[in-house]
Symmetry: C3
Subunit: 341 residues, 3 copies
């Protein structure tokens, strides 16, 4: 036990805290050097704490906090999220803020706190969501290619697969923030002032109606798709709470995570595509020869959905099912028999 | 164990996966033919999976997924929700979209993705919420009528009672979606264009102030009631999470589910009634001789609240309390004594 | 067991419900007179209920509901919240509604259901959030002053510390309601009418642009800070769900509750300060010689953050760390040795 030199000799305190020390000794016995994974669970720690009535800021220093793992499963997803957000931020900042300033001298820096951030959030969110479903597809392709399920996946694929839950939860968090940011648009002073200026111009130009049927339809549909997508993502997130997922049996868990998951990805991709509408072909959207961000954002999820659509076609689906039942491609079997000689 | 014919003879694989097979054998021992309800819990399944490091898409085919129940408690509530939504959609579509088109040739089809859907959502939501509290009231009335608690309820009532939690959660989900849809109104292009056109007309008519005191009050009150209702429903939903409800004692659970539940129903009904305001008596609201949807939506919850208000009156409440303490009406006792002969 | 006199003699019923009674007897054995804390957990109660297939409104009266504690940990936080909300409501009502009516005869009573309530909610929320972190700071100051950790804290401080989780959850609930209320602003009729009138005036005054750069920036920043603060509070709230916090080890729990908690407090305080912007120095904000509510609301959280900033300075942080490792100030030790004689 680590102790300061000044700490020796205060035996009367030790006596008072004897119960505490006994329990801590037990704790240390079970803890020692926390070998990988062998760390005292949070639950029993907190039970101990409530047993000896300690406040958390009094947590005994002899329990080496530094040796406890700090969200080991979240490191990779968080780093990935940070990188994606940084790239998306720079790209959006260049296109939406810097380009108007450089080309037309237009000061649009006020867009950074909300409008730029609210392009970064959905872009990162949908990318993370696609990355949840990409490894499953890669694994299926690998199994089809190998013709057997009795081969280990590469390490990187296994690592990736083991953090899918974390990726999905981050995607949901960013999607929620995106929703709140979007809902706050008409609250902002900048929106109010723009609206007043548009009204002024409409009166000046004696334009009786501002209605643009095309634009109205576009926005009604993509908002509706976005809300439905968020609702389904919320169900997925709730079902991944430990206490909820414990009450589900395997088939229910599969149904939620797979069926609802792909539905959410489909709705979110459709949401992004309808948001784009005809901007695909409008040349003015390609400022500085860069495509609008929704095209880049849609690319990965659209690929995932496309490959998935191919994989659920009867011929491939049946073969994959047989492989997962233990069937092996004859050529493959011969090869692996030779391997075992 | 079901196996493909090709699967025989690959013993070296069997060896490699021996541990896995042993565990699966244990699994099958406990599972065999899943007799009703006797299905391996999701928890132990997933523990098994993590023990043998299988990915879920590799889940052994010998575990018959098809025989596992798929959300058995949710079938009835989901079907009910689907029917209610379909009816509400048709009704709203006819009144809000088709009638203006047929009568005035007005093209309001853009209303379908958001405005029509956002009448369907609250209507279904409040109906489901009323259906959570209706069976309790029917049961109380039945007990009062029979004068005893020692009689089984009809099967349909017991079934209904057993899915109240599911009905409540669906009501909450729809209420959340309704809130997000409502908050998205001023974001939409259609709202912006309408606003600009109103501004144009106000200028043309030289109307200094657009303020309508009555309308302002109506909207401030019903939004406030709606948000408070949603807040209380959220507390109810959180308290029904397994890990949260496990920490509540019986009295706390009762207090949340009953007191908060009726408060939420009251707030939501008031929200709908204030939304209606004076439309009750405005003849133009009765297009094609149909009443506005909020009247239909309010009917059931208002009935439930009314009967509940009667039931908590001292005379009835005391009698019900005595019945639930085991007291029986004398005439009833005589009859049941005869029955037992 | 309490029973009505009429209840005697219905033995045939007793037989039918024998199983039930046996289980209840067991229940009563474990329950008897519920001595403090020794109350049957909600879990086992509900298991019992499902075992004997009783509906909750049939809950046996022999289990004395009145003797069960009703959210004992929530009494103090809820009372505190009620008092804070009442004070904030009166203050805001006087300044925002009564003052314009008395001074200028302006009827702003329509502000009560949303605008006044939505000043009360964030004010109470940020105060509760500051009260979560204040006791930890007081305890640290006390430890520094006493120079030892081997002294009990005063009872009020221990009680306060034991309800920090509840205070935090209430702060989050109010913050969520505040967010929804704020997002509903542009939906309201009052906002629409004001907007139309502003547009009318802009046209009358032939003002080409309504844009106020300063105001735009202020609002973009404070909305963005508020949303981020709410997002972090949501993470904190989720991590305090029993099933989630059980999966965290001590260091993770610390990291979430402390690092994220102070980040949230910082963001929310910044949100309030940016909302204030230059109103600090505008004399017209001090109606009836009272400061604007955001100044009062910011005071406590700003103090907490300031003292915390001082406490994490190396010299104090090191000393506090040594005290928590068991070190005692020499003078203190002499004194306590005398005490023990």
């Amino acid at each position: 036990m680590e102790r300061d030199p000044q700490d020796l000799g205060d035996d009367h305190h030790e006596e008072r805290f004897q119960l505490c020390e006994v329990e801590l000794a037990q704790l240390q016995l079970t803890q020692k050097e926390p070998e990988e994974g062998e760390v005292l669970s949070g639950l029993s720690q907190r039970r101990l704490l409530s047993a000896v009535a300690m406040e958390e800021f009094e947590f005994p220093a002899s329990i080496h906090l530094q040796k406890m793992p700090l969200f080991p499963k979240w490191h990779l997803p968080l780093k990935l999220m940070a990188v994606l957000m940084a790239v998306a931020f720079v790209y959006t900042f260049l296109r939406d803020v810097l380009q108007p300033y450089v080309s037309n001298g237009k000061n649009d820096f006020y867009k950074i706190p909300i409008l730029v951030l609210n392009k970064v959030l959905p872009w990162t969110s949908i990318t993370l969501l696609a990355l949840v479903y990409l490894p499953g597809i890669l694994a299926a392709l690998l199994q089809l290619h190998r013709g057997t399920k009795y081969s280990r996946f590469p390490v990187w694929l296994e690592n990736w697969m083991s953090v899918r839950k974390q990726l999905g939860l981050l995607a949901f968090l960013l999607a929620c923030l995106h929703a709140i940011y979007s809902l706050s648009y008409p609250m902002r002073r900048s929106y109010r002032y723009k609206l007043l200026n548009w009204a002024y111009q409409q009166v000046q130009h004696k334009k009786e109606s501002a209605w643009v049927e095309d634009d109205v339809w576009r926005m009604e549909i993509y908002i509706s798709l976005g809300i439905l997508g968020l609702g389904i993502l919320a169900l997925l997130a709730i079902s991944s709470l430990p206490s909820v997922s414990d009450t589900l049996n395997w088939r229910e868990f599969q149904c939620v995570q797979r069926t609802l998951g792909y539905t959410a990805l489909l709705l979110c991709t459709a949401h992004a595509l309808v948001y784009g509408w005809k901007k695909w072909v409008e040349l003015k959207q390609y400022v500085w020869y860069t495509p609008p961000s929704f095209i880049l954002a849609c690319f990965l999820p659209a690929m995932v959905l496309l490959v998935k659509a191919v994989l659920v076609m009867p011929c491939l689906d049946k073969r994959l099912d047989r492989i997962r039942h233990g069937w092996e491609r004859p050529s493959r079997k011969g090869r692996s028999d030779k391997d075992s000689l």
